[in-house]
Symmetry: C2
Subunit: 182 residues, 2 copies
């Protein structure tokens, strides 16, 4: 956070006081479709995925999150609509939850948080846009190499089929790509 805004000791403490610790175990859900989504979560430890499951039961991974990422069904969190995504722990997780109403109050008391979350949201927007473009313009191999850069810690922690799903390629193609590279 200190990369983007300077907080006094007191403001720092105020921010920490509005976060609530949450532990969930591997395969547990933070949200499921139909849930009300009141919070977004900062990952202190662990690894999670958010995904949409279509009517045929196919899973489409929207986001993977490891330490120092934020995760939620952001569309539901920001818009107040019901969740459409599953947010599920891939490992046991320690999270810090931030509720929307608390955040709104924080903006009023300490406006510089507007700056921090503006920058954070801009980065999320750019990264989503870049993922869409990358699906249009890059080969599976290039997308895998980008993925290894974006998520340096995740690659050895997450099963093959999850990474393949996230990249939009078949698990066999991912194995072939990995062999080629090594």
């Amino acid at each position: 956070m200190s990369e983007h805004i300077h907080l006094s000791k007191q403001e720092e403490e105020e921010f920490i006081s509005v976060l609530s610790e949450k532990k969930i175990n591997k395969k547990q859900f933070l949200t499921r479709p139909g849930d009300k989504v009141d919070a977004e979560y900062y990952v202190v430890k662990g690894c999670l995925q958010s995904y949409y499951q279509d009517e045929a039961g196919n899973k489409h991974i929207i986001q993977l999150a490891v330490e120092d990422w934020w995760i939620s069904d952001f569309e539901a969190f920001f818009s107040g609509k019901k969740a459409e995504l599953y947010v599920e722990a891939i490992e046991d997780c320690l999270l810090l939850g931030l509720e929307r109403q608390t955040l709104e109050m924080l903006y009023k008391r300490i406006p510089k948080f507007e700056r921090f979350f503006r920058i954070k949201t801009t980065k999320a927007f750019v990264s989503l846009r870049s993922r869409i473009l990358s699906a249009l313009q890059k080969t599976g191999k290039q997308r895998y190499l980008d993925f290894c850069k974006d998520y340096p810690q995740i690659e050895s922690r997450v099963p093959n089929y999850i990474i393949a799903n996230y990249l939009g390629i078949k698990a066999e193609s991912l194995s072939r790509i990995r062999k080629e590279i090594s």
Copy 2:
């Protein structure tokens, strides 16, 4: 803007003074791949598209903008990287340009703009996410109906093939859908 933040007369004037008027004609470009992108544009009048052209020459429309929308190659604008998108006028346009450096100075002088642009970016992020989900979960017909709601003014102004491309369906499918509905 007054929906989200309250500005004094002086702040309002300061904001207006940092915007620069720009006119472009139908089929002219705001940006092309490889360009440096220093500004984002508010649409006062007209209609534009941003799109990516793949190596085979296929066009993928990323955004359509009419009055009261903002457009740019946002990824390039925010990240400082070179443009990857074409931003092209579909009609003659009157725009207001806002430069990144000017915007950064504005944030410093009048921090409540952080709030305005945080809200705006959050909406753009949610709408992009929602478009991805909608491509996964909705039929062409449902997507077309959503589109008519999101862009009530655009539908009669933009050629069939552009709307079809934006929706990710064939032009013939769009014609069939339109017949069904009428």
